[in-house]
């Protein structure tokens, strides 16, 4: 079983595997794989803890009720699955600063944290604005040939390329 401990699998094996998982969710759950509504629901759950039940009356939370459901559990599964994979290949954990970042901006966790946080906020807004993320639109939507998803997938990468080029080719 040494292949389970390999650090890296062929991207084609991984991609085909994810494609097969999409068949499984359509068959067993009548749902496409997605990730970003889990964050909306979790955010609503946290806001409810801080501000009480009134939060549930927000229009968006009536549409995406802040509760643990299928997609929420899928995201929990992703955390655990990646943990198992990293453990089997003995990868180092507890890192703040990725190598590419450190090579251009140094090893300070603070700067990396600030940029990641700002990026996360933009991503949280953008994912819900577009109605999906790289999973829900980028994979599950494009494979259904949904017009919204092909448009969104192009926008995800266009925006991502512009920002990455700005950070690493202009600032870096």
């Amino acid at each position: 079983m040494h292949w389970l401990a390999l650090g890296e699998w062929s991207p084609y094996v991984v991609g085909i595997g994810i494609g097969v998982l999409s068949w499984i969710t359509f068959i067993l759950s009548d749902k496409p794989i997605g990730c970003s509504t889990a964050f909306t629901r979790a955010s609503g759950m946290l806001e409810r803890l801080l501000r009480g039940r009134g939060v549930l009356n927000k229009e968006y939370y009536r549409q995406f009720v802040p509760e643990i459901e299928w997609e929420w559990m899928l995201v929990v599964g992703v955390v655990v699955g990646a943990f198992i994979s990293a453990r089997l290949s003995g990868e180092s954990t507890g890192r703040w600063v990725p190598d590419t970042w450190a090579a251009s901006f140094g090893a300070s966790p603070v700067l990396r944290w600030v940029v990641a946080l700002v990026g996360g906020v933009l991503m949280g807004v953008g994912a819900r604005w577009a109605g999906g993320c790289t999973s829900g639109h980028g994979i599950s939507g494009t494979l259904q040939l949904a017009a919204s998803s092909w448009l969104a997938a192009m926008g995800f990468f266009a925006g991502g390329i512009v920002m990455a080029m700005f950070i690493f080719r202009v600032l870096g």
């Binding site: 990730c35 970003s36 992703v78 604005w129 939507g141």
Partner: protein
Amino acid sequence: MLRALHANKPAQLLIGFLVGLPFGFLLQKGGATQYDVIIGQLLFTDFTVVKIMLSAVVTGTLGIHLLRSLGVVRLHPKPGSLGASVIGSLIFGLGFGSLGYCPGTVAGAVGQGSLDALFGGVVGILIGAGLFAHVYPRLRAGILSWGDFGDVTLPQLLKVPPWVVVVPVVAALIGLLWWIESSGA
């Protein structure tokens, strides 16, 4: 039988988890939970992410349309509009380039122990999703509905049977992968 399974909430929670498990495992094994790999894709120095996504889309497109033709599954295309799909995806993209993970791979990065993903990415996405929920009533009738085209699929848009689009799209994506491989990326 499947309909009863779809309506069984505890079973669905378990299925969600059991699908997430290999999804996270595969993303991590493929390198897609690494900041360096994702940023490498956006800088065109590493094509791992595109190889994973396109092979998933090719596999998924063929399988889902076959299952649909056999009457086993229904499609669930998301609705869209120019204001939602174009502007939202560009905002997402600017976040994607800054964070270096997406909502799925950030969860995998947390699992592998990347602290920037946990304290930067997850916290940021939760704040962003909360902000969006807050402003949603003011956006809904305005910018989000600008250029509304609904949950149309490309075959519906072109008024052709699904397979007329499936075959050339799959062929084009395989061609793109072949070109990426042959150019040594």
